[in-house]
Amino acid sequence: MDGSLALEIPQIFPEIALSVFGIAILLLDTFLPKSKRHAATGIALAAIALTAVFTLGLVGEDGTFFSGMIVVDGFSIFLRITFLVVGALTVLASSSYATRENLAVGEFQALVLFAIVGMNLMAASNELIMIFLGLETLSIASYILLGIKRSDAKSNEAALKYFLLGSFSSAFMLYGIALAYGATRTTNLEAIGREIAAGSAGMTLIYVAVGLLFVGFGFKVAVVPFHVWTPDVYEGAPTPISAFMSVGPKAAGFAVLVRVLMVAFPAAYAKWLGLVWLSAVLTMFVGNCVALVQSNIKRMLAYSSIAHAGYILVAVATRNQEGVAALLFYTLTYALMNIGAFTIVSLVSRQGDRKTYLDDYAGLGFKQPGLAAALSIFLLSLAGIPLTAGFAGKFFIFRAALESKFVWLAIIGVLNSAISVYYYLRVIVVMYMKEAPDDWSPVAMSSSAIAVIALSVLGILQFGIFPDMLISLARSSVIGYR
């Protein structure tokens, strides 16, 4: 057995590489003199690049490995790449942030790498145990990242709230796993699917299990009614980490949700569809309507990210390949726009994340046109205006919804995106149509932040104007998926 296992190690090279580099960065951060520690960023980026190479090396090696624990398929590879993009942008954004807030850069980057490991394992896991481990790796890393500003009470509070609710939700998820295991004698997703199909499983247990799992994942991806932690956590967290939290764990959570629901519990579709449908509608409405009245832009983006989780749930509900492809497209592009927006927010918020209110953006439009234009593009993309990736993503999702006859879900969705335009426009209004205060202090830019913003803008326009490449990729990677 050992031989075969040893042969399968290449399948998790990406994760191994990330972990090794993460540990290396930690040690460097400890033993190197302070002056050399900023090297961590470069190393982290190198690690991510290397991992990307390994991941792309897996293309075409579809199959399950480590006795069914790990699955390699287009879906998981696409997601792994997505997570690497998220990670790279986060690393870039946080390097300048960490120096500004004088935090330990090394710890920061290492933890981001560990978080990526967790997300990758989630995307690639074919096993409830692996899902749990990946999720916890991600969660524990993100607990620390949220609280990394040890002397800042808001950061502590964000970390604490996420920690308590996070572990609370993992308990629910675990219980769901336990019941699924009890009902089907296995924790392997495909095996569970087979057992249920064979009718040799107690359906009551299965339904309860699905419900509990949905609660668990619902917390992670912040869908109503499990969203209450989101605004506080995003507001209190170090801004690059808010960005990371709003895209990385969300995408990973949705990936797992889709895989579990479609591979393990297709038989319970009729049951979980109701959950997803209702939760999607609630999530869109609550997210958008509460976002309308926010004055703190970080909270506003938090509620907007809740709303976007709602759109993604629409894609989940469709349960067809179009839907999953749309989900992949959406999570990647959403990552670009949200990280971009949060990066600008963290720049504008100045040292100590103080200026995060709408009024702090007054007059930005003509004081620093480039920055404001970029933020406008991100916001318009979030609002789903054509020629931005946000529109393309919504377009694909609603197309999938209509294709599987979810007309009302689609109508509610588009009306919500019309509502959302209002609060995204509010920021643009303040930037361009209000005069700057007299005590205006220019926003300090940093090369790495500029890189993040530029990359995001380019990505958004690229995938917005010519989405063909990406959507075809997403489609081909979900072939035969469900």
């Binding site: 540990i23 930690l26 040690l27 400890t30 033993f31």
Partner: protein, 131 residues
């Protein structure tokens, strides 16, 4: 129903235990004399007079050590089963185990280098006064 019988045994034990407890306590309370004095009512402090409140704040360091300890204590959970079937698994598992231990060792080194194994962290020496 054999299982119920097993429970019956438990019940008997329970009853007997409770009986002895109640019996001995009541008996002693009946026979013993009642003479109160300040010394007797004070919490037992080796005959010394109690100083200050018993509710004192533990030094936060204890928590730090506790949570460092937890990690290594869980290590055993994995090492014991690994050690038990160690021979059957062979080289691959052996290497894996070593890697596992090595990672934890790195963790220990990290904690050590950060100065968390000292009772008073170097950078906190200055602020020791108000502790």
């Amino acid at each position: 129903m054999p299982m119920m019988l097993q429970f019956a045994n438990v019940l008997v034990f329970l009853a007997v235990g409770i009986f002895f407890l109640v019996f001995s306590l009541t008996l002693s309370s009946l026979v013993r004399p009642y003479k109160y004095s300040a010394e007797k009512l004070s919490p037992y402090e080796c005959g010394e007079n109690p100083v200050g409140s018993p509710w004192i704040q533990f030094n936060i360091r204890f928590y730090v050590f506790a949570l460092i300890f937890i990690v290594f204590d869980v290590e055993v959970v994995f090492l014991v089963p690994w050690a038990v079937v160690f021979k059957k698994l062979g080289m691959f598992a052996f290497v894996e185990g070593l890697i596992f231990i090595a990672i934890l060792a790195v963790g220990l080194a990290y904690v050590w280098a950060k100065g968390d194994l000292q009772w008073v962290r170097p950078e906190e020496r200055g602020s020791l006064a108000e502790r």
